[in-house]
């Protein structure tokens, strides 16, 4: 049944892809669906990009196994959208066309900035993607009851994702995301209603049952996060990093105006918030109805909590309803993985084609046809790289790569975005220093953190840490150090570059400011070169 439902979902998404392919005739269609997505649709798609398998399966599992700490984790993911709403969404839409680099170059007018911003985009997308692809392999293997091994599941996800993006471009990617987000919300709402019905429509009763089963500490903080500094560091990376994630930023170019960009964030916040609030119900209910042991036996990280909860809610194992519930939630989780990977791929290939190929290599003079071809080739290349890296890393524990992607986005992209928008004296050298310094600080700190360094017990055979020595940097997430470092590098670079100040810098800042706030001349072309 699971395979049947998954096949139906894949068939629907492929149908969307071929429908979209007929409208996918220019580079603008390919990159950003011609900027013609409505605010409501875009809001659902943003929510979809964010409600990845990691949040649907991961957070439900975290709560089921660790109680309150798991739920606290989801708050940061939601709050992050306030940064996006207040600071980046509208100026980004007003200043650029396809990528983060557009916005920076509009003010700084330096092709080197385009190059480095594109590199940062590709680095962040790649780390995020490896985590998603490896996760997809494990999850699909788990969800299929071991029938599809990760070594089969990873290429499967990769190939489907290449088809969506190459054939259907951003329009297909967006609609696949909308369909999946709708299914995911539907599944979550149905499960939440069934849970509340079981527990006398009272969250307090549910918590009471969870307490009776696990003891009082399940309702309080501290079961999972032992080091408060690590938690704050993660919170910083989430709250700032979301505003620098390329696959989220590219969504603001798919709507016609800054007002639509604003509305899409608000829509996304309503959906994401409602979704995360419901994870508190699902996680605790999975703990009570399925049980910690059964969840941990199915998968130590708790990823099977949501599917098993659906099985229990619809009648239990062996019943028709139970098997249908399990199959439906599993199929939705599968769709989630496909849609998120497709979104990451299009962000990376757009940045490569628009920024590196057309902007830097061709000085903005590549023809439409040429760019379109390169964009599709880049997608296939990104897809193949993702499959290969995914297969190579499949036995490693790569969950930290998502945190790393957020940390790099927060440390390399966000300082540069903020300074570009608000600091009159900021310059191209500062942008380059900020991006490179932010990335290098994150990579260095991660390399000497407990994610990579540490002494594993000899009986641990898979997923051993690459460096078997005491970690030098104590935190799992580098944010609390790397974000201030990113800002500091951007300031130092600006001071160094100040001697080569262009005489038109003040005017460029004012022009940028005028356009960022008013959207004036927005449909005029942003020069990709100069």
């Amino acid at each position: 049944m699971t395979f049947l439902l998954a096949a139906v979902i894949v068939a629907i998404t492929l149908g969307i892809t071929f429908w979209a392919s007929r409208r996918n005739t220019s580079t603008s269609d390919f990159y950003v669906a011609g900027g013609k997505i409505s605010a409501g649709q875009n809001g659902i798609a943003i929510a979809g990009d964010y409600m990845s398998a990691a949040s649907f399966l991961g957070i439900t599992g975290l709560i089921a196994l660790n109680g309150f700490d798991g739920f606290m984790y989801s708050v940061g993911w939601f709050i992050a959208y306030l940064t996006v709403l207040f600071i980046v969404a509208e100026p980004l839409r007003n200043l650029g066309k396809y990528t983060l680099a557009d916005m920076l170059v509009y003010r700084l007018r330096d092709p080197r900035v385009r190059m480095y911003a594109a590199l940062s985009t590709i680095v962040v997308s790649t780390f995020y993607m490896i985590a998603q692809v490896v996760g997809a392999g494990t999850l699909i293997s788990l969800l299929s009851g071991g029938v599809l091994k990760p070594s089969v599941a990873i290429p499967l996800v990769g190939v489907l994702m290449i088809i969506y993006v190459v054939v259907g471009g951003m329009l297909a990617t967006t609609w696949v995301q909308i369909v999946k987000a709708t299914l995911l919300m539907f599944a979550t709402v149905v499960m939440s209603v069934l849970i509340l019905n079981r527990f006398g429509w009272s969250f307090s009763n549910l918590l009471g049952a969870a307490e009776a089963k696990n003891g009082a500490e399940f309702l309080g903080a501290g079961l999972k996060y032992k080091n408060p500094v690590d938690l704050i560091s993660l919170g910083l990376a989430l709250v700032l990093g979301t505003a620098g994630l390329p696959h989220i930023l590219v969504r603001f170019y798919t709507v016609p105006t800054a007002q639509d960009a604003r509305k899409s964030v608000v829509w996304a916040m309503v959906l994401i918030g409602a979704f995360y609030v419901m994870t508190a119900l699902m996680g605790n209910a999975a703990n009570v109805l399925v049980g910690k042991e059964a969840i941990a036996t199915a998968n130590a990280a708790g990823n099977m909590a949501a599917p098993l909860l659906a099985q229990a809610l619809f009648g239990g194992a062996g019943t028709v309803g139970g098997e249908f519930g399990l199959a439906f939630v599993t199929a939705v989780a599968f769709a989630t993985i496909l849609a998120v990977v497709a979104g990451l791929t299009i962000a990376a290939s757009t940045s490569f084609t628009h920024d590196i190929f057309n902007g830097v290599m061709r000085g903005g003079k590549a023809s439409e046809g040429e760019q379109f071809r390169v964009a599709r080739l880049a997608t296939v290349a990104v897809g193949i790289v993702a499959i290969v890296l995914g297969l190579l890393a499949q036995t490693q524990n790569v969950a930290f790569l998502v945190a790393l992607a957020f940390a790099i986005a927060a440390s390399a992209n966000v300082p540069v975005i903020l300074f570009t928008l608000f600091w009159r004296k900021f310059n191209a050298t500062g942008a380059i220093w900020g991006i490179v310094g932010g990335i290098l600080t994150c990579l260095t700190l991660i390399a000497i953190s407990p994610n990579i360094m540490g002494i594993d017990p000899p009986e641990k055979t898979t997923g051993r840490r690459p460096i078997q020595a005491q970690a030098i940097f104590p935190l799992e997430n580098p944010g609390i150090v790397s974000i201030p470092a990113g800002f500091a590098f951007a300031v130092i670079g600006t001071l160094i570059g100040a001697s080569r100040r262009r005489e038109d810098e003040d005017q460029l800042f004012e022009e940028m400011q005028f356009r960022a706030y008013t959207g004036a001349g927005m449909d005029g072309t942003v020069a990709a070169h100069d």
């Binding site: 309150f68 739920f71 606290m72 708050v75 940061g76 939601f78 709050i79 959208y81 306030l82 940064t83 709403l85 207040f86 007018r109 009272s202 969250f203 307090s204 009763n205 918590l207 009471g208 307490e211 009082a216 500490e217 309702l219 309080g220 903080a221 501290g222 996060y225 080091n227 408060p228 500094v229 938690l231 704050i232 919170g235 709250v239 604003r262 608000v266 916040m269 309503v270 918030g273 995360y276 609030v277 508190a280 608000f422 038109d504 005017q507 460029l508 004012e510 022009e511 400011q513 005028f514 356009r515 706030y517 008013t518 959207g519 004036a520 001349g521 005029g524 942003v526 020069a527 100069d530």
Partner: protein, 99 residues
């Protein structure tokens, strides 16, 4: 090098609607951002350094921690709604600034 001249060019700087827009927007953004950062980081701080408070039952079995976490969601929605309302003023000023 083609520096696409925004129609109002540097005269836009002297435009009073635009100056008001920049001033109001910056003030609003700074106040809102500080507000939500402080309110958000209270949660991991309390979770790290005041565990008894977080585990305190407030409504039936609902602990202070859960209430606070839910309140963070409500805060997010309220701040977003405040911004949407304020943004009407920004949109009006933006139109005026372009005249």
């Amino acid at each position: 090098m083609t520096v696409s001249q925004v129609q109002s060019g540097s005269s836009s700087v002297r435009n009073s609607a635009f100056q008001q827009l920049v001033a109001e927007r910056v003030r609003f953004t700074v106040v809102m951002t500080i507000t939500f950062l402080v309110l958000y980081f209270l949660l991991p701080l309390l979770a790290g350094y005041n565990k008894p408070l977080m585990a305190q039952k407030v409504l039936g079995n609902v602990t202070f921690g859960y209430l606070m976490a839910f309140a963070e969601f409500v805060m997010g929605w309220i701040l977003a709604a405040l911004y949407v309302r304020k943004a009407r003023t920004f949109d009006r000023l933006a139109l005026e600034a372009q005249r």
